[in-house]
């Protein structure tokens, strides 16, 4: 009696077990729909497939197609189309079976996990004893973790997206097949239709859906990336230079810089010599004045009666000093004049090189349009009206043959920069610039 009493569940546990049973019974009440009989296989009522066509019938159609293909093209076309319809029906059946099974499996797993979680929560509420509650709570955690892992790893929640993609892909392929139904068997034989039906079958697989999704999302990401790059380019934000641009930028600069540097150094010397000559001229003029004063002093001293010998001697000393000062200033001037001449020669040579480079660039059909582009370019300050006016004036002077050293150096360097920027599209321009620079060293 005692043992019998122990084996019976306690009243709360009995109630919980009863609730769980009711849940199960309720769930089991849902019944599958029956398929219409037209979809059952011909002559095989109990067949598992929903296809309405038997293999024997398909074989007989294929055999008829082969016999008619050469003699009765219209008849062969009808048979081919029949075979296409049968193929489409069978593939649709296969796809729908697969979709239904996949959905059922997913729903069953989700239900089972729901059931276990609810059951465990209820059990915690009705169970006595801390240890038992702890164990059930751990189990509940396990169920929850299991669900999240299952959803994450098997992407159960993403399956619908894939099915949607499959439906879209299948519809595309089917559209392509149906467009060929009026085509003659010569251009669209059954063999080709069968191959396209295989494509239709493949369009209903997860692999194809994943592939096309990956291609589409990749294309969207690529387009967004290209759009962003376009905005950056229009905003003038610079990206990394191709290696060839870096190399040719250095090479071309190595050809322009010596000419500009030589001119600038000669120009500095020219200006220094000019200053020395001006200073020497000033000294010579002062010495001439002192010389004239001394001569006048000597003359006046001599004309006195009796002559002022002391004044004559002082005047003679002053005259000698002025003559020496004049001679020194003249030597300085001569030296500076020689230096100025040398500097002028170097400067003129530099200027001649720059003019020759400009003339060659202006004559080159590829490079000459770049000269006119300089004032319009944002990178050179086209956005600033004053800069634009200044650059336009430089270009005008160059074209009129009155360009200064600065005009030549600045505009040629900018043209070179534009040619370098063109390297990814037209590498010939930078090479042409290099050739012109080398020819005018």
């Amino acid at each position: 009696m005692q043992a019998e009493k122990r084996s019976l569940p306690r009243p709360p546990q009995r109630a919980a077990a009863l609730c769980l049973c009711v849940c199960f019974v309720g769930v089991g009440a849902a019944r599958a729909q029956k398929n219409p009989s037209i979809f059952k296989t011909e002559g095989r009522d109990n067949a598992a497939s929903m296809s309405a066509t038997s293999m024997e019938y398909i074989r007989s159609l294929e055999s008829q197609y082969r016999s008619l293909e050469a003699t009765d093209k219209e008849g062969a076309k009808r048979i081919r189309n029949k075979l296409i319809y049968i193929g489409v029906e069978q593939i649709d059946t296969y796809f729908n079976d697969y979709r239904r099974k996949s959905r059922k499996r997913n729903e069953l797993i989700q239900f089972l996990l729901d059931f276990l979680e609810i059951g465990a929560s209820t059990a915690i509420a009705i169970t006595n004893g801390e240890r038992a509650k702890e164990v059930i709570a751990e189990a509940l955690n396990g169920f929850k973790g299991g669900r999240s892992s299952l959803n994450k790893n098997f992407r159960l929640l993403e399956t619908q997206i894939l099915f949607n993609k499959m439906v879209a892909n299948r519809s595309d392929r089917l559209g392509q097949i149906y467009e060929q139904l009026n085509a003659e068997v010569d251009s669209y034989p059954w063999e080709r239709a069968r191959s396209e039906l295989k494509g239709y079958l493949y369009a209903g697989t997860i692999d194809d859906a994943l592939n096309s999704l990956s291609i589409e999302t990749g294309a969207i990401a690529g387009a967004a990336q290209r759009q962003l790059e376009g905005i950056k380019e229009r905003a003038g934000i610079l990206s990394a230079l191709p290696a060839q641009v870096v190399t040719e930028s250095r090479a071309n600069a190595a050809l322009i810089d010596p000419v500009v540097d030589a001119f600038a150094a000669a120009d500095d010397k020219f200006k220094e010599a000019d200053a020395v000559i001006a200073e020497a001229d000033k000294k010579i003029a002062e010495a001439d004045k002192k010389l004239a004063d001394a001569e006048k002093k000597i003359k006046e001293a001599k004309e006195k009666s009796p002559p002022d010998d002391a004044a004559v001697a002082q005047g003679t000393e002053e005259k000698a000093a002025a003559t020496a000062a004049k001679a020194a200033a003249t030597t300085e001037k001569t030296k500076a004049t020689e230096e100025k001449a040398a500097a002028t020669k170097t400067r003129d040579a530099g200027m001649a090189k720059l003019r020759a480079v400009y003339a060659a660039v202006a004559k080159d059909s590829g490079l000459s349009p770049l000269i006119d582009r300089v004032p319009q370019e944002r990178q050179f300050g086209a956005g600033d009206p004053a800069t634009k006016v200044e650059l336009e004036a430089s270009v005008r002077r160059l074209k009129a043959g009155t360009g200064t050293f600065e005009d030549h150096a600045d505009i040629l360097r900018m043209v070179n920069d534009l040619a370098l920027n063109e390297i990814p599209r037209n590498p010939a321009l930078s090479r042409r610039m290099q050739e012109i620079l080398k020819a005018n060293q």
Partner: protein
């Protein structure tokens, strides 16, 4: 030479790529004055950039630039070290984007172009 505008460099570039862009800009007859991080708004988008400013220097510029990450080094010590190696101080330390990360950088230069 008219005042040319500064250049704005994409924040996703390496230190060397920043250096190359500044050297190419210098080849217009300019000398780097300063490079510093900034942002640019274009067509509703905000972009992180490095803004490099230059001054006119038609001849005798420091053609070869050398961008150095300061890291944990003392900038004055770094300046002395580089001076010993023949480098002339140009600017910095300033923060610039290097591969989208803000980095303290100092710039040095030499008159001889990089081989």
């Amino acid at each position: 030479m008219p005042n040319l505008p500064p250049i704005e460099i994409d924040s996703n570039l390496t230190l060397k790529e920043n250096e190359d862009l500044c050297e190419k800009r210098q080849n217009l007859g300019l000398q780097l004055k300063r490079i510093k991080f900034d942002t640019v708004t274009a067509e509703g988008n905000v972009f992180q950039v490095n803004r490099a400013e230059f001054v006119t220097k038609r001849s005798g510029r420091l053609k070869n630039l050398f961008f150095v990450e300061v890291g944990t080094k003392d900038p004055e010590t770094l300046k002395k070290e580089k001076k010993t190696d023949g480098w002339t101080y140009v600017c910095g330390p300033d923060k610039i984007f290097v591969k989208n990360s803000l980095t303290d950088v100092m710039v040095f230069g030499k008159s001889e172009a990089e081989a």
